[in-house]
Symmetry: C2
Subunit: 225 residues, 2 copies
DNA sequence: CTTTTTGCCTACCGCATGGTAGGCAGATGC
DNA sequence: GCATCTGCCTACCATGCGGTAGGCAAAAAG
């Protein structure tokens, strides 16, 4: 009876608007994307779009809301994997990576949000980051006490950098990957993205754990310590 | 006698425009920054700005040009430090980091450029990246043959990730650092930025070199291998 | 002194933008 | 059958945008 009585399985106009807006805003930025352009992409008139989203700013809010909602769907899966075992780290990180790799627009949108609305993002970070930040910090600090994690590591800073490398790495991959193309030194039959992500994971792990001998197997399998 | 007869040591109007434009575009993005706003910041009329820069797009080009020029000033210093010794890696990376840390607007502008103009940036990358990319790759590959560098490391991908962590890390630092604030686990009397950069350097080194025992001295001194 | 050039200005223009007002067909409720 | 609500539409508007035309004082050139 309210205004938001939508079923979850229709490819409704509203959802199509959100999808197109997501892509356009992620590609060109919020200011550079007119609601006219979004409406054109959907195939409706501008005023029809304004029926679903009373203002451009409202559309933007819903866009972020949707992204956060999707993230909250993944979060429990991530946290579940975050136990103390060594191989689990890869699982956690890969889950986060896959979230953004599945749709790089997510990373680009979020990165733009950080650049364009620093104050708002700072608020969001302070509210939402403590949940997983403290959990990860504890995980890392436990590892430090056990001796499996580099004692010189700064937990919060490390987490931040890994977050950055994932977010920005996937946001900029399509542009930056030209460096990989001209190198072409991959022996294995990997996608460039796979190659990119593998090295990302290797860096995160090599800089987290104390090394043994020659680590960093490119396989998904965990080589037990 | 031409139109660009400017001396290098005047705080000319043109330079003030470039400075304000740099900051505004880095903060809000190119599309979101009107030339009116830039003129206001400088303290002149919009049309006076258009006298120095015939169009907004031209101003933008000059902005990038200026940034590239500054980078080219630093580049030789970087390449000079890029020899084979182990401690030199830190010197090279720290030089790059300082370039962006000195004025984070550089990082933000460049990151925005990657997001907003992927095609152009791809061209620029292909033209300019080979110079240092191949040099660094050789340096790394030499290290791999000597056994000082992780053999599982993917040189191009590694370089790309380190570049990302520096660029995006410094571009987003002011926003993301709230995570550091709420942690406050620093024993030493460091700035948050120093702490952030130190961990950045530690990650880069720990994921590059094969470890010995407890590495990553926060000091600037090189502990010889 | 006169002419040209430089640097900044006022005045104005065409255009795309985000947003309002209101119409209108079809589905729904009574 | 009639009223209401939903979803999309056409028509219109005020605003701010990037950019053009041209004036005008001071400096430079002859």
């Amino acid at each position: 009876m309210a205004k938001t009585n939508k079923k979850q399985e229709e490819p409704s106009v509203r959802e199509r608007i959100l999808a197109e807006a997501m892509h356009l805003v992620a590609s060109k930025g919020y200011e550079a994307t007119s609601i006219q352009a979004i409406a054109d992409a959907v195939g409706i008139r501008k005023q029809s779009l304004l029926y679903h989203f009373p203002s451009k700013e409202n559309l933007h809010e819903c866009l972020i809301e949707q992204l956060v909602a999707r993230w909250n769907d993944v979060l429990p899966k991530v946290m579940l994997a975050a136990t103390n075992s060594r191989g689990r780290f890869e699982a956690v990180m890969r889950t986060v990576v896959e979230f953004f790799a599945e749709n790089p627009d997510r990373a680009r949108l979020l990165l733009r949000e950080v650049l364009d609305r620093p104050e708002e993002m700072r608020r969001v970070m302070m509210l939402h980051s403590q949940v997983w930040s403290s959990a990860l910090r504890n995980y890392i600090q436990d590892g430090q006490e056990l001796g499996s994690v580099d004692p010189g590591l700064d937990p919060e800073a490390y987490i931040l950098h890994i977050l950055t490398i994932i977010l920005s790495g996937l946001a900029t991959f399509s542009t930056m990957s030209v460096v990989l193309e001209q190198g072409t030194s991959t022996g294995r039959g990997e996608t460039e993205l796979e190659r990119y992500v593998d090295e990302m994971m290797r860096i995160a792990q090599a800089s987290l754990f104390v090394k043994r001998s020659s680590q960093s197997r490119p396989e998904n399998e965990e080589s037990v310590s």
